[in-house]
Subunit: 352 residues, 4 copies
């Protein structure tokens, strides 16, 4: 059930609706919009009676919601959400005019490596830095990340370069630690339906970057986000990173159509990961262009100073020079869609 | 086996190599390049001895080819192929700087319909017109196309609007008829491994538009093209039209990564079909932008003057006004990649 | 629309309904059942008025059919169909108590090979012999079959061993030739939506073995059969041969659940092909057992006297001794489901 | 690296090899076999020198292992593993002659429900009882299980009916609780790559039932088991429960070929879940027969006293009478493969 308030409803009207909902044993989710507020109701197992709410002052309408997702839905909140990461002048807002560019190595290896990448990606216009300290690896014998030592190096990157830190949390216990260092909690594809972790992230005050599972339908993807929102954390950035199909020319099949599909159903921002989405360095640039052209709100890109000797996923990491070229090209495409990137390279304009 | 001639080899040198190959019972495929000619050998069931050819005058090297495809391969022919459709001033070349835009209704219904669409798409910059006269339909009870009457209407469209005609042929007998009317023979996804039809198209003098099968790997796709080339018709344009996956938010999953993958393995041009690739009108525009951004050599788009009353696939056809918008946006993106479209709309530049 | 006659309706009542349907420009398909006859109507593009038929003598009810398939449907014909192949004492009926076992090499290579296999599979209980004379191959450079010479060898096998011949037809022209030699026309997975070939097979008097396409849904599979029936040939045997998925431990994923699914929706018999369904010799026996246990009406199995030197698909062909073992095991499983095979081996009972 | 001991090697020889491995900083995994012991080495990041071990007393050979999995591999341990659940007369061993039958409701709802099911499935021959107390649900608003109250009801079922308890653990914290009540820790498909949970289960003394992920390759499935073994818990039972494909006639596609594939690569037992593998009640019985025929070591089946009113997944749960029929049919099939079930129904023999 979704309770739509009248444009002129007062804060007290909204509060009264929330109290009513809670007195019935359910949970109220007030979502203020540009012209009016909507209040989502969750926790009810069966349908509710609209008349219970429509008779309250300031209520325009009470709408039964049929889709299984509620809080992530555009029916609940028509305006696209802006997700603010960090604060002050180094902060960044996803979902606005600027594309959010997250770049960095797959795994944090050592200070030299992260500093080398951070310096280059910051210079090319990235405002967020990625790097795994806890790596979910298919094999128990593969490098699993530096752990807290890696997180500390990421904190140094933030201090030194003013980059916001995006790093993965792999279970709810681990979340306590990662939260202390990260600006954005990343939940990986293999954990998209790790509901314990989703609930824990939903109780965090940090924004969440939620990657689509390898065989998740659009509905399952939105329901995973719904778990986070239903715990009270509305700052979720979705990420398409390729799905598993029979096609063997790339590691995954990047499903770019899910981007406009998410945008028509949900108010949440969505970015694309062409590095994991293709698994091959020479496909990252063309698919990054395509992702921006299809309407993504940003990109997450693997960059390594020496990809051939990376400790994980090096064959899909870009050289820093390739990342420069990527920034030039996507900035030009973004402009056609009325968007921009923080890319400072002068020759972009020249090329246009 | 691939026989690479020296840059200074004479025509007689090439002819001598071909005669040698044919005297051994195989087939020779001379492919002239910008700096030198290569001669492909097909028909041999096992490996050949390089020395048999390397001792002939004008031969630089004889290279055993390990990939199952030969004639479609960039190893055989390093330069991208230009596929010329039609002739004279109305002719068009795929694979060059200009993107090839094919537009029109799913099925030819009547003169009023095709003329209405043709006038609009020609005005917006399409140089080729699509429209099915023979429709492969999942149900035997669905509209199967107007047949030869439809082909005649397409011929009228060519005469009246100077548009080149792309239309589907559904079996080898039918090919005799379609060939008389069409400028490009389209082979649909369901027929991608109809080897009889591929061989028949390989003996045609008309270029072939070959759509990827619904679950075809990249190798199978290139091998289907190889069938056409192996019969002597080198004018093949490939087309990505979406593959079948578990994802249910679009009718198919448009696999845009196959476009750079084809370009690195093959010299053939490749276009994208965002209409069938998504199956939903509101996804055609964003995926068309993405396809151009990823590097496609063109697009094939369904346009209908009254999509809601179309006799087939209306829900994925654009209104003519939406096609105008599509042409504006892809023209701007093409420019960033150093390419162009024949779109004449002045406000493109303005928007940039 | 489906017109159900009353149990006591006369032949003249049925004929009157058919004439009425044909006078409206549609096609009538009378299907006699055990207790009453149903008449299917095809060729109508929109819904018909039940009252048009319900007022005729002998008519019980006229039912609008919502599923896209009609003639293949159990709604039209509740009893399972029996498909008779061949005639006289060598004839065999699919869909009855006996499982139909089709065995033989992938491709016909020479008399010695086919005779060697035929002798062994006949002895083990196969009543039908498979062998390709026209092979649809992914590569134009692979062995494409012996053509008519192969068909003649198959005819010799029939004469010598009393085996019924199942062989593939690859296009509608080729069908004229294959029909003269074969007892069952096989349509391969790649041609499941070659509608020209389906229609041609629908006009044949020989039964059709229709394999499921590599990415065909159940509905598409049944619609392909509907094409054959809609042309008048009701003798169709379906065949599950594996679908394409991400799983890479077998060549295809044998979808055994489609067998009970077909049986609940359609009256047609369905068999399984564990040779193509797995693509690996060591998986053929366990999946053959599973197919019989799930309720298949038969199996088609590749057997070769010397699989390691077969000219195509040898790695999935059984040795004759392995086929003996297969027959023993499936015969025992069949008995549990109240079915039987023509396997004569005495030790089957002993083993139980 | 795998160190194979000679058949006559002493315990001290084995211990010496283990000490050597540990002194190098790696982990030793001695696995005693029927004729000789093998010692797996894990923890090394690169290749080791065979000579380091082959010079030790009692060592036959040191073999570099190329597959990414080691401990789960038949190369390490040629004999099939027996996994013992529970102890004493109520204990059960997976991987031996008897098929392990796990039956019960999807979710524990109340005492009446679990007792009603337990009484029936025990009577029909099940030796293990399934029932979820913590349910991973796609929607945060769906019933998530009774939690510890549910575990207590399961403990009552064990006491009352002598059934062993199989129940799901959803994260590593939750594992502490579940372990106190369960005889087998179930890890669901969505958690197959929740590496934190896998490691936690690897430190448990309870056997683990590991379900294949919805889009897991065979290698990923075995690597997930490797995580559990690498922590020291060698008691893993694998479970095929259907994979995600384009096919829409069942909820998942049960990939039965994975069962013989696992058996050729790994010594671990594997069972099948036809309830989740099909998602439809009328498909459970035929696919259960097929799973036993293909060689599964057991089944896990959902049974509910009143499936139409179940709080989760009722549409795939069997009525108790249907479960009786299932036990009869699979018992007869098992006999053909030289296996048995604890099913006591007398008419099984009669039917055969």
């Amino acid at each position: 059930m979704l309770v739509l308030m009248k444009p002129q409803a007062t804060e007290e009207d909204v509060a009264r609706v929330c109290r009513k909902i809670e007195s019935m044993g359910y949970r109220a989710h007030p979502m203020p919009g540009a012209t009016r507020t909507a209040v989502g109701i969750t926790g009810n197992s069966g349908p509710l009676e609209p008349a219970e709410f429509e008779t309250l002052p300031g209520v325009a309408e009470a709408i039964p919601v049929s889709k299984p997702y509620k809080l992530v839905s555009r029916e609940l909140k028509a305006e696209s959400s802006l997700v603010r990461v960090g604060s002050g002048s180094d902060g960044f807002t996803f979902g606005g005019q600027d594309l959010g560019i997250i770049a960095g190595p797959c795994a944090v290896e050592n200070r030299e490596q992260v500093f080398a990448v951070a310096e280059r990606v910051r210079r090319a216009g990235a405002r967020l830095f990625r790097g795994g300290a806890f790596k979910p690896r298919t094999s128990p014998y593969s490098f699993q990340g530096l752990g807290e030592e890696g997180l500390k190096l990421l904190a140094e990157v933030r201090r030194e370069f003013g980059l916001l830190i995006v790093t993965e949390t792999i279970d709810s216990e681990n979340c306590d630690l990662v939260e202390r260092y990260a600006d954005v909690l990343q939940i990986g594809a293999r954990n998209m339906q790790n509901f314990s972790l989703l609930k824990r992230a939903g109780r965090s005050r940090k924004p969440v970057l939620l990657k689509r599972g390898m065989s998740a339908t659009l509905e399952e993807f939105l329901m995973a986000a719904e778990y986070v929102l239903s715990e009270g954390n509305y700052n979720v950035i979705l990420c398409e990173r390729g799905v598993r199909t029979f096609a063997d020319h790339t590691r995954n099949t990047l499903d770019l159509a899910v981007i406009p599909a998410v945008k028509s159903l949900s108010h949440l921002p969505i970015i694309a990961d062409p590095s994991h989405g293709t698994g091959r360095r020479d496909k990252v640039l063309p698919l990054a262009r395509a992702a921006v052209a299809v309407g993504a709100d940003g990109l997450i890109i693997e960059v390594h100073p020496d990809p051939d000797h990376a400790r994980s996923d090096g064959y899909q990491s870009l050289h820093p020079d390739q990342f420069d070229e990527l920034m030039r090209e996507i900035t030009a495409i973004a402009a056609i869609l009325g968007r921009s990137t923080p890319c400072p390279f002068l020759d972009v304009a020249a090329r246009n």
